[in-house]
Every structure is written in structure tokens, then in C-alpha cells.
């Protein structure tokens, strides 16, 4: 009977001459008994609901013999036993949480195939992306996206492969190899690009040029001897042209309203934990996936959140000047990523700007100061 489990029951051992009559007396009082057993001479054992304990006590008063409780079963006793184990249970839960957190932590980042300088660059880049040693990352890192951005943003990187191996990220990089040095050719310093010489620093050799000279790519800049090749830097003003096409669609911004949907998945099945009403109008959706690892094993449950941001048309229409500024800014950032670190952008001019079927096409001319000396 369910009552016996829910309300708790005791097994009673009755010993005495009148023991065989004892259950009958209890029965007459309307007590429900279970599992009556006659175990030995004048010894009867039965279980009884906790509720009827008072009646048992009344009966036991008239009884000549011994009444003893043998065993306690049921929910109330189970609860007590669990309470006694609370510290142990709490500790094990804490252990699991700690283990999951530690498993989500990035312990080490291994970078292969990069020299010291490139490695430093890569580490700073990864730090910006949120991948650093000691970071706890529950959400899955989009490695493809990082790889793509790394190739764009880190100068000199041709191939970027990032892989998660448990708590270690392994980054495999290939960088552009510097052109092979040929001793016969390295006697003179030549221009890598055409430009106007702005400044020069000659370590060794004879300068072929003066400030303000226009040089073309391949022109000799500093002459050296066979014994002692020329060395130095020549800073020249060079030019870059960038063509930017801006989408004609109106600028949209988030208006601050958002709805977060939370999904919980066990194995293949996905359940929605929190499902607010969807927003009206255009939305921008961001998706985040959180998975839990125990050591390197992925636990079979994960969380996924989808945040919808409501979009609104930017209230003010961009003026032409503002638009131009934005285009220049974007083009400048793209160019900076391509140029070596020492290069400085000194000026920019919009060469051409035209609207074509709702899109704006802008050609910008940049003046850059950079070292053009190569061997």
C-alpha cells in the first residue's frame, strides 16, 4: 500500500505468551497490518503504519510481554537518512560544478609554426576574441569564424587553424615566407614600391636618391659593395587606392528591446526552457550555444540561447558628409590591417563617388608613409 511508504511504517516484534493473539486485538481496533510472520515460539512480527502507533501503544499496555521496534521504512525515515548525507551530497554537487567549470577553462594555448613575434600577435588577437589562458568558456567557440578573422587581421598569416582539444587550444599557423635572400642581389637596396622619398636612414652604402625624389619599384636606392652590402631604411610616401561600395539599405540600429529564448537539449532532443513572445518588426538574431564538459567528455546536455534584438531605422538620415566619413573610416581600417606596423596613413582623398542603383561606390586615395627599402 502506498500509505505504508508515504507515511512511514515500522516493523514490530512482539514476544510473549499472548503474542499470537496480539495482531487480532489490533485488528479489532481497526488497524491495518501487513506481512504478519510467526517466526518462533510465541514471537510475531508485523509491519504497521506510523499513524496507528498510538493504538499499538494502547494495546501494548494490556499486553504481558515485550513489544519491540525492529525496522523503520518509508519516506519520513528516508528523508532523515538523506538529511544525514547532506554534506556528502553537497560536496559531490560542488565537485561536479567545479569540474565542469575547470573543464570549460582554457588551460593552455599551443601555437605551432609561428616565430616569437607572430606568436605574440596571435596571442593578442586571440585575447581579443576571448580565447586566453585561464578564461572559462562555456559557449562553443566558433573556430571557423576565428580562423577567418585571424587571416584577415593578423598580417603575414596565410593559414590559421584553431582546434580545441579538451582544455587546450592548438593553433596551427602558416606565415608568408620572406623572399629567399640572394647574396648577389643583396648588394644594393632597391625600392619595393614606387613613391616619393620622404626620409632615409643609411646604415651602410651610398645613397642614390635624395629627399623628394620619385622612385619606381625596383629602382636602386642605396648602393653597396660586394663585401659589405648596403643597409638602411627609406621611408617614402606611397599611394593606395581603395574602392568601397556601401549598401543602399537604410542604416538600422537596435532599439534596446530584446527577447531571449532559452533552449535546453538532452541528447538529440531540444526543449524550450524559456520562450517569450516574439518581437514585431525586423529583428537581428544572435545565437549562443553552451555545452558542458566533464574533463574532455562532453556531457549529453547543452544550453542554447537565441536573442532577438528589435531593429529600428536610424532616426536621422546620414548626411553625405557623414556617409563619406564612415566609408573612409572603414577603408582605413581595412588598409591598416594590411600594412606593416610602422606604416602611417598621412592623408586620404575621395577620388570619386557615385550612386548606382541605390548603392554608393566610393574610390579613395590614401597616402601612406612606409619603408620601401628591400634587398
Amino acid at each position: 500500500m502506498a500509505d505504508f511508504f508515504l507515511k512511514g511504517a515500522v516493523t514490530v516484534l512482539v514476544r510473549g505468551e499472548e503474542a499470537p493473539l496480539f495482531p487480532g486485538r489490533l485488528h479489532q481496533r481497526g488497524v491495518t497490518l501487513k506481512n504478519l510472520q510467526y517466526s518462533r515460539q510465541n514471537e510475531v512480527q508485523f509491519s504497521l503504519c506510523l499513524e496507528d502507533l498510538g493504538k499499538l501503544r494502547q494495546e501494548a499496555r494490556h499486553f504481558k510481554g515485550k513489544v519491540r521496534f525492529k525496522e523503520r521504512t518509508g519516506l519520513p525515515f528516508l528523508k532523515k537518512r538523506i538529511m544525514r548525507f547532506t554534506p556528502f551530497l553537497l560536496t559531490s554537487i560542488c565537485f561536479f560544478i567545479l569540474m565542469i567549470l575547470l573543464s570549460a577553462m582554457i588551460i593552455r594555448i599551443d601555437i605551432q609554426g609561428a616565430d616569437a613575434e607572430l606568436e605574440r600577435d596571435i596571442r593578442t588577437f586571440l585575447k581579443k576574441e576571448g580565447v586566453r589562458e585561464g578564461a572559462i568558456q562555456l559557449h562553443d567557440v566558433n573556430t571557423e569564424e576565428i580562423s577567418r578573422r585571424a587571416v584577415q587581421n593578423i598580417p603575414g598569416v596565410v593559414r590559421f587553424l584553431i582546434q580545441k582539444k579538451g582544455v587546450v587550444y592548438v593553433v596551427d599557423v602558416s606565415s608568408e615566407k620572406p623572399p629567399a635572400l640572394d647574396t648577389a642581389k643583396t648588394r644594393h637596396v632597391r625600392a619595393a614600391k614606387s613613391g616619393v622619398v620622404h626620409d632615409m636612414f643609411i646604415k651602410y652604402g651610398v645613397a642614390e636618391i635624395r629627399r623628394g625624389d620619385f622612385v619606381e619599384a625596383g629602382d636602386p636606392l642605396i648602393k653597396g659593395t660586394k663585401k659589405k652590402p648596403a643597409a638602411g631604411t627609406v621611408t617614402a610616401e606611397t599611394w593606395y587606392k581603395a574602392t568601397v561600395t556601401l549598401g543602399g539599405n537604410a542604416l538600422k540600429t537596435r532599439n534596446g528591446e530584446k527577447r531571449k529564448h532559452i533552449f535546453f537539449s538532452i541528447g538529440e532532443k531540444e526543449y524550450s526552457l524559456w520562450d517569450p513572445s516574439s518581437l514585431k518588426g525586423p529583428v537581428q538574431t544572435e545565437e549562443n550555444r553552451y555545452s558542458f564538459h566533464f574533463f574532455s567528455y562532453q556531457l549529453p546536455f547543452s544550453l542554447r540561447t537565441e536573442t532577438d534584438y528589435s531593429l529600428k531605422r536610424a532616426g536621422t538620415v546620414e548626411s553625405e558628409a557623414e556617409q563619406e566619413k564612415r566609408v573612409i573610416q572603414a577603408a582605413k581600417a581595412a588598409l591598416m590591417a594590411k600594412l606593416p606596423k610602422e606604416a602611417v596613413i598621412t592623408g586620404e582623398n575621395v577620388l570619386q563617388k557615385r550612386a548606382e542603383s541605390g548603392k554608393v561606390k566610393v574610390i579613395i586615395h590614401f597616402q601612406v608613409l612606409e619603408n620601401i627599402a628591400i634587398h
Binding site: 499470537p20 493473539l21 495482531p23 487480532g24 485488528h27 479489532q28 481497526g30 491495518t32 497490518l33 501487513k34 506481512n35 504478519l36 510472520q37 510467526y38 517466526s39 510475531v44 508485523f46
Partner: protein, 88 residues
Amino acid sequence: MKWMGKMAGLPEDAVGRIPRVVIIGMNKVTVYNAEKLEQFTDQTVRIQLSDALLEIQGKSLEVIELMPSEVVIEGTMTSVCLKEKRSG
């Protein structure tokens, strides 16, 4: 009570507190509307019904359930005996 049940076409044991004994095989006896469990040992179980006395003999008898209106007995039965209640 009895005639009412007859009029309605009900079986006799469906009306009132008339004791009913169900024997299932050699191992199980269920007694409904028992009045009192008079004596209980592993060899003899005596149950008092309203106008009779039921005596079950066997080996290692056990009362599985003893509820106010139902008694379930299990064990190896050798005899089940229904006696008329002695007057006085």
C-alpha cells in the same frame, strides 16, 4: 437485506456484511468481512467470521495483509476448515 438483494437480482455476497472466503490454489486464502483474527501462528490461523469460525492449518503461514474488512493469508495450506460458531 437479503430479500432486497434477491429482488434486485444481486449475488448474495454483494449485499451487507456477509463473509466471503476465496481460496486460490493451495497457497492463498482471502477472507472478506472477517470479524476478528483470533489466533495467529505459522501453523494455525483462526479467523472469526460473523457466524462461523474459519481455521486454516498449514506450514509457514503468513498474513500478508490484515485490513479491517479483508485478510489475505499465504503459505502452504493443508486444511481449511469452516466450523459453526459455538453458542456461548
